[in-house]
Amino acid sequence: MTVGLVVVSHSRALAEAAVELARGMLPGRELAVGVAAGDVDGGLGTDATAIADAVTAADGGDGVVVLMDLGSAVLSAETALEFLDDDQRARVVLSPAPLVEGLVGAAVVAASGASRDRVAAEALQGLAPKQAHLAG
């Protein structure tokens, strides 16, 4: 069992590309990564009910770490928690990590079977390699 991930973005294209980038780090390994992105008409936007559905689908029992872009993606992810029951809500972490960097780090660690807290901590470290490189 592994921790699931959900990507929330205003743009479906952006979310799917970020997932493709992260999956490139995991050849041959299984990981549940859900996408909730775009509005009902395929335009830019977010939908809390779609996020709740994606969280439910990605949760195999070990919980879910949610990565978001900005603005209403964050508000919608918080609103999505209102649609979950208490047990499930307790297994969800909304990560403040940057979307792309956080997702790649989280995906690698999640696929190795790490705990939800460990996955969330790794997502938060997502900027570290870039910061270290540019500071050097």
């Binding site: 509005d39 009902v40 009910t49 779609a50 603005g71 209403s72 918080e78």
Partner: protein, 227 residues
């Protein structure tokens, strides 16, 4: 709810008669809000173009049009279910930040609604306001919806506490909401997209406060059956 003999549609002369806050009354409220949003759509977008991303009018109009359609299809005899339908429909269809914010308003109001009298309505609206404040992590003065909703709730509570009837109290709330909206003009936004503009966000009414004032105005119109 102590309304024996008062037919909802009966206009008693010039006396103002509250529409009971039942499923039909709440449906009338949000339907009137949808009408006002549609009518003011371009103005809301113009305000959002000045200090945001120019989609508030279009987003909210799309959401409220979907709300009216959803309520037409549903067996609307449960007041809380009406509010919950409004919430989920807005959340699904708005796309921008006003979706989760207005959605949370109606979701929390639905959860708090306990009864069909003026006090129950005021308590539900207050719960909705608290939900918006918690979701947006905003407070009055941040140039948001709260700048219209907070004085409206305060005026509604105060008028009811003075023994004024619901139509009268809602008129006071609508005036307070409009005053709160106007008071956002000189403010510098501290939340949402407009906050990126800093000082440049001053000089325009906040689009969220403007639509929130329409929400209160709609209640004053729709829940005061007589004239």
């Amino acid at each position: 709810m102590g309304r024996a003999g008062a037919h909802p549609g009966a206009a008693l002369g010039r006396l103002s008669v509250a529409v009971p806050v039942d499923a039909a009354g709440l449906t009338a409220w949000v339907t009137e809000f949808a009408r006002l949003v549609h009518e003011q759509r371009d103005e809301l977008t113009r305000l959002d173009a000045a200090i945001g991303d120019a989609d508030h009018g279009a987003n909210l109009d799309r959401g409220m049009t979907a709300v009216v359609a959803a309520l037409e299809g549903g067996p609307a005899d449960d007041p809380a279910a009406v509010l919950k339908t409004v919430a989920t429909t807005l959340i699904k269809t708005v796309g921008g930040a006003s979706g989760p914010l207005y959605g949370t308003f109606f979701l929390r109001a639905a959860g708090a609604l306990d009864g069909g009298d003026a006090g129950a309505f005021a308590a539900a609206v207050r719960a909705g306001l608290d939900g918006v404040a918690a979701r947006g992590k905003a407070e009055p003065g941040d140039k948001t919806m709260l700048d219209a909703l907070t004085p409206a709730c305060d005026a509604l509570d105060a008028a009811l506490a003075e023994g004024r009837d619901l139509p009268d109290a809602l008129r006071a709330a609508a005036e307070a909401a409009a005053g709160g909206r106007d008071a956002t003009v000189p403010l510098v936004a501290r939340k949402g997209r407009a906050s990126y503009l800093g000082e440049r966000s001053a000089g325009h009414a906040d689009p969220g406060a403007t639509s929130a004032a329409l929400l209160v105005q709609a209640a004053a119109t729709a829940l005061a059956g007589g004239s």
